[in-house]
Symmetry: C2
Subunit: 186 residues, 2 copies
DNA sequence: GAACGGCGGAACGCAACCGTTACGTCGTAG
DNA sequence: CTACGACGTAACGGTTGCGTTCCGCCGTTC
């Protein structure tokens, strides 16, 4: 039986290595070195870099985030944006996510894995959010959940992961208000 | 004197190579091969990969986009969003931009170059857009240009460069309307 | 027509990784 | 106490890329 503590060490090493050098430059040897483990231990678990990274990433990415339900759309939205912004400011995540997204643009397998892990899940969040709001009468009947997701995640991702500018509480508040207005008007 | 046609061939090769394999895996040898050029021709121009890529990218990125001024905020916004979405759907750009953004997260020199090339310029677009609209009375006095940029570029970038979902004319229209509403309300 | 300089090509020594193999150690299960 | 299996280490041959050097070719300049 494969030893669990070794597997954990490898997983951590992969995450850190991914954050530091990115998928393109990640090497099995470096992972082994960092994990304090032989290459054999890695090849015993996965047959190559892609498979290894994909399995580890899906695992992490599929951890469910609780869908917000605070009782009001404003509350749900604020909570969701807080959660997402915290996640995007996490040291490891903020390096790994853009890197894998870029990699997904040229590797169909990575693309598919990320889609399944992120889109399925996060789109569900958006749909639930919008659905609840419509049901409560806080948003008009035909509100486009797809559009809502773009409007909620887009600006956050842009500012935190792309432009890498700070996100003050004040700015987050304005953003929340703006998104609310945008959705109400649609 | 260095031959101009050779320089052009190298520049093109770098762009295509960047798009195909990304910065992390880009190698001087591959660039030379692709450009049909000796490695010596490259080292005669730049001293290493980073310097080469940075010079070529800044050149491309600093080409000025005409600031929209159609006479109305709605027109300006629609035009800007069209331009940006076209740019983000360009084959080469859509691969290179997320890749370099990810790389910038771990390489300060790349980060700085991109900031200067993109932010300075695109932020100016946002500020002009908002400034014109305020001047015309189409947006309230204190509208935050920073926020506007987040709201305009964020959803587009998210959808096109991250989620990689198609952007229909219909969706673009809804997005424009939503952003307008958001900014008016702020 | 001679000198110069950019060019491609080839090879250099060096380093990093690949994926695989052989070996000896050590903990655990039977 | 024995057998098994996962472990780390070390080495394998092969590939790729680095940055440099030397060569001979060829077009331009004077």
């Amino acid at each position: 039986m494969l030893r669990g503590d070794i597997t954990v060490a490898i997983r951590n090493a992969v995450m850190n290595e991914l954050a530091e050098v990115g998928y393109g430059r990640l090497s099995i040897e470096a992972v082994a070195r960092r994990a304090g483990v032989g290459k054999t231990a890695i090849y015993r678990r996965w047959s190559n870099k892609l498979e290894m990274v994909m399995e580890i990433i899906s695992d992490v990415a599929e951890r469910k985030v609780p869908l917000p339900d605070t009782g009001s759309f404003a509350g749900d939205l604020e909570l969701l944006m807080m959660i997402v912004s915290k996640a995007l400011q996490h040291r490891i995540a903020s390096q790994i996510i853009p890197d894998l997204m870029a990699e997904a643009a040229r590797n169909p397998q990575i693309s598919e894995t990320l889609q399944r892990a992120l889109r399925t899940h996060q789109q569900a969040v958006g749909e639930k959010l919008v659905g609840q709001a419509i049901h409560r009468g806080e948003l008009p009947e035909g509100t486009d959940a797809d559009l809502a997701v773009d409007l909620i995640l887009g600006p956050l991702y842009w500012r935190l992961a792309v432009a890498r500018e700070p996100l003050s509480d004040d700015h987050l508040e304005k953003l929340t208000a703006a998104v609310t207005a945008a959705l109400r008007a649609s």
